[in-house]
Symmetry: D2
Subunit: 348 residues, 4 copies
């Protein structure tokens, strides 16, 4: 199925692969001056796909190339109205992934962003809220960052204070090739940074003004064609113990990138579909409601969780998991898990 | 302060270090034929230490050498009565750590075992129950096993199935020297094995009769004097992904063994003291109760958690931590954490 | 082609695989009381194989299971005469690999031992000398030990003093299964130890009585079925720098064991054949001679080089390689390499 | 002793550390418009230092910050005459290290460059030749590159074909801080690249047009203040075996950077002094000569060996070492080592 290609948003080296697109002139030249038509075309594609395959529901998930970040600009993409206007006037900061998001929202189809760029500019979130349509993101949490979210929290919880975390990656597939361009790498870097913030904020005894509240955190991604889809991630945690001692943990992680990402895609789609069907009403209400538009319960699978405006994202994997587990327990009538286990801890 | 030394229970290579003991004849020979007197002497030491230092409370924590396992034998150490009798008749399967445990229980002083051996034979647990005295164990969870409990669970939760875990350690301090003897190593090995059982049982989709319900788990500890207290742990997790793919995670962990263990000791003592003061009564009861004798809430710091007879130990670090956190929240009147966070997930 | 099986020499767990043997009774029971007949049968097999395939030359290479070490006993395997007698009287210390070696020597066929056991007891070496037949061994140098021979020498040459080397291996193929038996592992351990001796002896400034002349060297091999033929070797070098500083190098090496060993087999066979054809005479001699029986030039591919009685083995990989290179240069009339390169270092 | 500071050549972040310089105006402003005076001042410093300390000989060794590369420009630094002229006219491509080199050459004092930049532009080499003065460089070979030169050659010699080498470093000392600036890093990167070229050229069976003659070689250096002088180098070699198999070697190397570099400095100075005293004459000559100006025998300690114009540098550590060893053997009247060892390999 043909799609859209706005060259400015992905690495130049991807040009030859963009060989199945509809945003082009009759003579085959790429055009980016008709973005609203692109929205309409994608909406039509969704509808036709649903009808042709006789589907009850469609979920749209972006697993395409990492785009550069879009600038968030007042009067352009800061509100839903401005955003729609900006698309219509072909503003250069409207990314393809945002065009897909807008099309999905207008069709009331859940839309999930598996790449790191800021598809969900404020205008998109507001649009989703207006249409009661579901969105979730950003960036599949498949490997290094996932382990980092676990290990960093583990260390801090144990009173071991990471001073530096150096994260090196290399891979040889097309994802790596696209990320070898600086702007696209930058999107990834931002997405990978935030996980450490959580850790720092969670323990004021370790991290504070006096004893230092920063971690030297470096992130490197290199394109090394020889290794193909076999992605290598090396992380080194250098931490402070009591009495001036140190702890050094080095992790070397080799995995098939695609085989780690694919189950996440399946889980995200299944869970989005499920969450889109959950409804609730409060004790004294008559009417049932859907969940709020931003599906933060999907965070378990996402590196840089999109949060509801006014709330902080939850990066900790265990918290994310517990949320899912306890919601599901509640829905089937089980008590939530809290590990108090009084039955074994009390005398009688 | 002199202590006891039963040569059969620790490595032969420790002989020269046992130079401050009271279980010896006047001519200086070690004697193990007066074990009840040893119990009495330790009880007296506890009382005198408390009096001399004008203390409110004493906690006894075993951080001495790893002993060999004691055989659990019917009519010897299977009940509290048999155990006391066996001590009086100097049975060879009564370990020094058990003598300390019994003395502490009889003094109603909390006793924590930071080493891997089975100090808490069934007779000791029953004795603690009888005397409403607190016990907790076994084996400080300071390093490799702690991370393993986190990572193994992380992998299985993510649908990644560990097929083998190879754990290599070397250290050069006296702990390593003692563990270079086969029987003492065996105690450690048993203590380090169990963590993986939890992981296997937690996910029947990954681990079952059909697709395999075992993990090749090997544990090696080597005494390498050159590295001193700087303990090295190397773990390799080899796991199965979908479609026949594999993931390999190697961890190299260097730390000052003593600096990791010391905070655990402090935490265990503080928490034991605290838990020994918590009391509760049920809604319709008049009288307050102490917690049950086996302090399973200490499991967070212990490699092979001692559980209440009839209950399974909880090895998962996150569950152990959540238990502590939620108990403390409850005690100060906060709601327990369950991560449902409806305030951000519901529409209104 | 059926072969021989003496159960005492390999791991019990190999029993089921020994299903194509000729040393058995008519009712199928393994017999080890007819060892001279085994020698004769193998000699016949060699001759018939050569005739049937119309070959110019045969080379025999042992790539079968690692055997336990044979005891070297006076009057049993210490001289060639005693050895032949011991075979005829079915002495229990005559290993299958020695039976093959003797058969090959008597047929004047070069025999190479690719496994670690001491096939070449003194009696075998003397026999080879008597018959002017070629032998070479022991143990393919394919992986961890090969790198160790390079790295250890590199460190010492650089004035960096290794204090400890910890070497951990695991593999899941049948080689690993056989080595999980203690006696077979012991053969491997001896073979892997020697490489460090060279290093120590090469630098008396670093290693001496005063500053210490030992390295804590531990070797572990574990059978981990899950990893199959994908062998994992982890080495850690902990070394002393000047002024009390330290250097720590950790190596993690994953390879297909069989794919590393196969080229060695080919190289060993080709080189043995070649060396068996090289002849020389000294300036004033009339007659050409073969090389001496023990082909020490094969050491480049062998972990525990068999040396000529009275000479020390050369373990250093670079020296081994240089020997081969310079011999070949000499044979084709080129000057040997000595890296003096006066043409670029002198003024004119 | 004050020195010179040309801000354009080192990282901006070094500005505050340049607090002991003589190339400044009376009001304290740095000036770079008087370079010939700088040369003269350094010459004077050398002479005075020698006189004041009553020295026989002075050796100058550059262990200061890594500079950016200087452009090699026709009529500027391509010949010795042009170079001297360019200094006098304060050309912006004249680096501080070149100023020191020129001063040393004019004083006939050996000059060694321990940093990676191209101090030795063609004009400097020609000047050294003219004055029969000694120079040597570039860049101390202390750690990662040294091991790489050994391991890469080892692999290729063993018929194992590296397809990619990923090299990650981080350090937290001032060297790392300076290298965090792109131009200075670039100098280091060039210096670290060349080691692999040797390896590729040495084996045409592995590396050729048909089967591929490139290695994906990536080099990363990150400034991570937390780790201080404790430099971490992680290298991963991914190689091809026969039949489509692969080998992956990961090395993790932690060392005190300064403690590795210091002995190199001592060795370089001692060896330079020694080599400056070696003289030779050919059989039919009357007069003795010094060595050629570029001391390629120092390459053993240098990452990017400076070679004589018209000759290729020798990067292989073993070849470099053998050169030193055999020269020294020759000078004391021993035969050179060639490892032929006929005494043990020949029959009689």
């Amino acid at each position: 199925m043909p799609s859209i290609y706005y060259p400015d948003f992905i690495a130049l080296n991807q040009k030859d692969r963009a060989d199945n697109i509809f945003n082009k002139t009759e003579s085959g030249e790429v055009r980016t001056d008709n973005k609203w038509a692109d929205v309409e075309r994608i909406r039509k594609d969704i509808r036709e796909f649903k009808a042709k395959n006789d589907l009850d529901k469609v979920i749209v998930l972006w697993t395409a190339n990492t785009e550069r970040y879009a600038d968030v600009i007042a009067n352009v993409n800061d509100t839903s109205d401005n955003l729609l206007e900006a698309i219509k006037s072909n503003h250069e900061e409207i990314a393809p992934s945002t065009v897909f998001a807008v099309a999905s929202i207008l069709e009331k189809v859940p839309y999930i962003n598996g790449s790191p760029q800021n598809t969900f500019v404020p205008g998109v979130i507001e649009l989703a809220e207006k249409y009661d349509s579901f969105i979730g993101g950003d960036d599949f949490k498949s490997g290094q960052t996932k382990i980092k979210s676990v290990l960093a929290q583990f260390l801090v919880d144990a009173g071991i204070k990471p001073l530096s975390i150096a994260s090196y990656n290399h891979l040889g597939n097309n994802d790596g090739y696209n990320l070898s361009a600086p702007k696209q790498f930058r999107s990834k870097e931002i997405s990978k940074q935030s996980v450490v913030d959580d850790m720092i904020e969670s323990n004021e005894i370790l991290y504070n003004k006096e004893s230092g509240d920063k971690v030297d955190h470096c992130i490197v991604i290199k394109y090394v064609p020889a290794v193909g889809d076999s992605k290598v991630a090396m992380d080194e945690y250098y931490s402070e113990l009591m009495l001036g001692g140190h702890n050094k943990i080095s992790i070397h992680n080799v995995c098939e990138d695609s085989l780690l990402a694919t189950p996440l895609i399946i889980d995200l789609v299944i869970m989005s579909e499920f969450l889109s069907r959950v409804q609730y009403k409060k004790v004294d209400e008559e009417q049932y409601h859907d969940f709020y538009s931003v599906l933060t319960l999907l965070s378990y699978w996402l590196k840089a969780p999109l949060s509801r405006p006014g709330f902080k994202p939850i990066n900790g994997l265990n918290k994310q998991r517990q949320a899912l587990e306890n919601l599901l327990r509640l829905l089937v009538g089980l008590p939530v898990n809290n590990e108090l286990r009084f039955e074994e801890r009390l005398l009688v």
